[in-house]
């Protein structure tokens, strides 16, 4: 029997980045294929290609054994491919039936196209029954829990007569029992001949339901496991196991006393959990974890963007009350945000004005900004950070990613940093500039600045940090000293497994 779906040597190149390289896989009817890989391994690019959202740069895509040249979202839908996303694409303000049948509502009265509510309810009811849903087609979506909404998404796929359903981290916000029920639904779908691709970081679920596992790493397929070969250890081995290329530069001396001490910090993202950590001066503390583990929320809370619900923050022994970013900035705690275009820079302002944005009053006399003095400060940062630009009056938005990041850094370095929180400091930055950013971080830490580096890039976490903390679902699941660093150890903590369950 021909495979439902077959990918052969699919590659995708973005300017400067090889996102996918020679990925081949096949999916048969009545099969659950587990797709694993670290953040940035190329899973989402692959799914975008499958869904017709982005075209592959090369390779062949076959549906029922037939190669498809034209492939876009409409084609993918016609071929019976449906997605269940981590972030649900549903309409809160409509009822379940309207969501399930969105775009193919039964109509009445010819050109008036009045939606036939009764017919749509009749059509949705059996689908919900098949999924074991405990809500009616007329229920308003806003009244459903996240798990129930997940079922609505799946019902939508079934209503479209999907033969291939791709689930992207469907359980990331479900409780254990809800997850168990979802997995049961998936098994039933499999029994009904649907092919499923199941993407998750939760290897336990793969172990439960997958018939086969395919692993991506750095855009390449690094291995496949048959049903009987699937185990935690085997999957982790596939996900990691690459040589480390980032070179570790040891600090000039041991970390100093004091630093930023956090006790029992509770953020809005995980209201039930308190966090303890210390960022010591002269040390780069890596903070690893999966996307959504609460690392960014921690940084935002420390910087005063998000409210701190409880807990205590002390800098060099002095208690701080950080209610908004101005408090953090005044204390010398700076954030280099994850999304530098949105949060880090004013893209259509000149480089010089970006660099002095947080400290404009230092360059002002009686409220009037001294442009010459401002420009001197900006030029000094340009020289020391080696920002590649003809002059500092160019708009920041015209710079490359690495140089934009240097401008964000320049903004803080022109002041008096005590602690700098880096959130994914090298995301979207090319290799050469990455090295420069690492060197800058080390130079800062050697000057006595405490550095927290949130990173999803394993190589970066292991190669740059002096110490690593790992977060899992809003708590710190463990810490590693430099001698104990290994990808296995970090990954196990990141997926919430204890050491002995390797």
């Amino acid at each position: 029997m021909a495979a439902l779906l077959e990918l052969q040597a699919i590659g995708k190149t973005y300017p400067g980045v090889r996102a996918l390289d020679g990925v081949s896989l096949a999916l048969g009817p009545g099969e659950i294929l587990g797709l694993i890989g670290e953040n940035g391994a190329g899973k989402s690019t692959l799914m975008k290609i499958l869904g017709g959202v982005v075209p592959p740069s090369e390779g062949v895509l076959r549906i029922d054994g037939l190669a498809r040249d034209r492939w876009d979202v409409a084609e993918a839908t016609r071929a019976g491919i449906a997605f269940v996303h981590q972030e649900l694409n549903l309409f809160d303000n409509l009822d379940v039936a309207a969501n399930v049948l969105f775009g193919r509502e039964p109509r009445r009265f010819g050109f008036l196209s009045v939606v036939d509510r009764r017919a749509s309810h009749e059509r949705v009811r059996p689908i919900l029954a098949r999924l074991g849903a405990d809500f009616a087609p007329g229920t308003l979506l806003a009244e459903l829990s996240i798990a129930q909404r997940q079922l609505v998404e799946i019902a939508r796929a079934l209503a479209a007569e999907a033969r291939i359903i791709i689930l992207d981290e469907p359980t990331s916000s479900l409780t254990l029992s809800e997850t168990a029920r979802l997995l049961t639904v998936l098994r039933e779908l499999r029994a009904g001949g649907v092919g499923l691709i199941y993407i998750t970081h939760r290897l336990g679920e793969i172990l439960d339901v997958a018939d086969r596992v395919v692993c991506l790493r750095d855009g390449r397929m690094v291995g496949a496991l048959a049903r009987e070969e699937i185990s935690h250890a085997a999957m982790i081995r596939l996900m990691i196991g690459r040589e480390l290329r980032a070179l570790y530069t040891p600090p000039a001396g041991p970390p100093g006393p004091g630093g930023l001490q956090v006790e029992g910090l509770v953020t809005r993202a995980f209201p039930g959990r308190g966090l303890d950590l210390t960022i010591r001066p002269g040390e780069i503390l890596g903070l690893a974890g999966l996307v959504g583990a609460g690392r960014t929320s921690l940084a935002r809370a420390l910087f005063g963007i998000d409210p701190v619900l409880a807990g205590e923050v002390r800098l060099d022994g002095k208690r701080l009350s950080i209610r908004w970013p101005g408090d953090a900035v005044a204390a010398g705690i700076y954030l280099v945000p994850e999304d530098r275009k949105k949060d880090g820079l004013v893209l259509d302002m000149p480089i010089a004005e970006n660099i002095t944005l947080a400290s404009a009053s230092h360059y002002a006399h009686a409220g009037l900004i001294d442009r010459a003095e401002e420009n001197r400060a900006a030029e000094a940062q340009r020289a020391s950070l080696r920002i590649k630009t003809p002059d500092c009056q160019v708009q920041a938005g015209t710079l490359s990613g690495g140089n934009q990041q240097k401008v964000v850094l320049g903004k803080w370095l022109s002041m008096a940093p005590k602690v700098i929180l880096f959130d994914e400091p090298t995301r979207g930055i090319d290799v050469g500039a990455k090295g420069e950013i690492y060197a800058l971080m080390r130079a800062l830490s050697d000057r006595g600045v405490g550095i927290l580096m949130i990173s999803s890039d394993m190589e970066e976490v292991l190669g740059v940090s002096d110490r690593i903390l790992v977060m899992h679902e809003g708590r710190i699941s463990g810490g590693l000293e430099r001698g104990a660093f290994s990808e296995q150890a970090v990954l196990r903590l990141a997926i919430g497994h204890e050491m002995e369950r390797a």
Binding site: V329, A330, L335, K342, V346, D348, L357, A358, V394, L399
Partner: protein
Amino acid sequence: MSKKELGLAVLLVVIGGITAVLNPLFLSGVNLLNMANLIGLFGIFAIGQGLIIITGGIDLSVGSMFALLGVVLVDLLVNFELAWPLAVLAVIGLGLLLGLLHGLLVTRIRLQPFVVTLCGLLIYRGIARYYTEDSTSGFGYAGDIDTISWLASGRSFGIPHPFIILLIVAGIMAVVLHRTVFGRYLYAVGRNEEAARHSGIDTNKVITGAYLLGGALAGLSGVLLVFYTSSVSPSSFGNFYELYAIAAAVLGGCSLRGGEGSILGIVLGTVLLQILQNLVNILGIPSSLNFAVMGGVILLGVIADQQLGHRRQRIQLSRAQGGAAAPAE
């Protein structure tokens, strides 16, 4: 002077030139001074409007504020016989207060500026009409208003006072907007509020500050307008003036997305609007076409600016990349 303002100035000269050729009266002293007076009256609150637009907001309530402030001013002077300096201060203070209210509603309760000031538009006009029972109030034989009347609507060296006041206000506001830390923050907040917040700027204060200034300038304009018309009929006084202000700001280079615009641009925008009004009168175009002419010119101006803006951006981008990118055509 930026390219945008230069373009606007050229447009002014061209339109003025054509009008002057068609009717030489356009350049007569009487006509020019009359225009200068109107430019002064409209320019002051257009600057306030521009500051608010630069933060990414808008103020639809200006016209109704004039009605309310006008009614209050006349009442204070005529019925309460308040000394004019106090009355003027009270009116400007009331403008400040309304601006503060708008600013707080926008920043603290996170209401959309359009909605907040739309409600203001309805409420202030309604209060003004209710308070006066919809009747026109004037100065009649009120005593002590000669000085303020002269200050607000008189002339020195032949130049109408509103125009002189506009020049002073524009000068001060140009320094505030283009040279001070507050001005820098206004632009930053308008362009990227999140990045400004991430830099430790109290964006709420900055935005509220813009509404405060807008309110104060509206208060000042309100005083001048009352003495220009010398009476206030609450149902029509200041009608549509918010739209004149928005039009002037947009013509002058303010983007409704925020973060763009200059004082010089706003003043030039006001001048252009007044020339267009004058042109309709002086060329004998039916005055019913007044709005249509204004709308047409604004539309064309904005389209031209959009096209030129794209071009400039491409040029800057290719220059920043060392000319490696394809040259802009």
